[in-house]
Amino acid sequence: MFGFKKNKDEDFNLVLEERANFLSILMALMQLLKSSGNNAQSDFIHKLIELFNQNNLDHFVKLINGVDMWGGAGAVWEVYIEDQNKVKEFEKEMLRLISLMEKTKIIGNGIKPIKKIFEDNMKTG
């Protein structure tokens, strides 16, 4: 009403510019989760991809910042993957996703500590 709230279409321009990157990261994550038996998390990522493809970016941004992605036990970020090569691949993709969320200014609260965990894991190998 007073112009405090930005136009959402304008906000999502950055996200749309990075469409290809978002989709490639999400596809990679979905496959890694599926192949490691984390089906619920894989289905969630599939839902995100669908929302993106439908241009339902408002809902997409809500979900990608939500409990299913970054919450407690059972969230995407904290899944158990047995194969260490896949773990590295997964953490690399998660870091790419966080960076992209930062770049497109859609990142919410509580995600940066997780970024640090992944960065530390990558350093220690």
């Binding site: 409990v67 970054w70 919450g71 407690g72 036990a73 059972g74 899944v79 500590p113």
Partner: protein
């Protein structure tokens, strides 16, 4: 001035005997057996940590050692170093830290259905004492909350992922000490099936 045992020099004065570096040694400077013994004891006490400790206690109250010799702060530090040698402080400190670090603390994970037992997110807080645990801990929809995994972990291995569960879209968050651990770090893990899922 008199020369006594071991070449120590004493000066007779009213307050008592002094040795070559003008320190009071507790004797009267007479050179008798008792005076000589006190001189010897004083020389030995220059290397005695217990005497240094007593000197430091005396210094704290009077500014002088136990025999009335003026001490500087530097002297006090030197004597403290002999009472608590740095190497020994290190050994004591590290063994105390080891003791504290090996204390085992219980940690918890609520899981079920889409949330596996082996994930990385744990809590230091026992969920049964937290009303609306799902909301405060930020459990995702994939987690049915039917099972509780409890184990313990040495304090030194605790890895705090987030100090508080994040207030993400869909939950309040705020549960303190969200840990990031591996299942294989747990000591005596045990599962409980919950009658009333979280």
């Amino acid at each position: 001035m008199r020369v006594g045992l071991g070449g120590l020099v004493s000066i007779n004065n009213e307050s008592g005997g002094e040795n070559i570096d003008n320190r009071n040694y507790g004797g009267d400077g007479s050179g008798d057996m008792m005076d000589m013994a006190l001189r010897v004891v004083d020389v030995i006490n220059q290397f005695n940590p217990i005497a240094h400790l007593m000197d430091n206690v005396s210094f704290a109250f009077t500014g002088s050692d136990r025999l009335g010799n003026k001490m500087s702060l530097g002297d006090a530090w030197m004597k403290s170093a002999s009472v608590f040698p740095i190497g020994r402080v290190g050994v004591f400190g590290s063994s105390a830290a080891k003791g504290v670090g090996s204390l085992k603390v219980p940690i918890y994970r609520v899981y079920g259905e889409g949330a596996s037992m082996y994930g990385k997110s744990y809590s230091l807080i026992n969920p049964k004492y937290v009303p609306f645990y799902r909301n405060f801990a930020g459990l995702p929809n994939a987690n049915s909350g039917q099972y509780l995994l409890k184990g313990s972990i040495p304090l030194r291995d605790i890895n705090v992922g987030r100090w508080f569960a994040a207030p993400l879209n869909g939950n309040t968050g705020g549960l303190p000490f969200e840990l990031y651990q591996n299942y294989n770090q747990l000591i005596n893990p045990a599962n409980v099936i919950l009658k009333k899922p979280f």
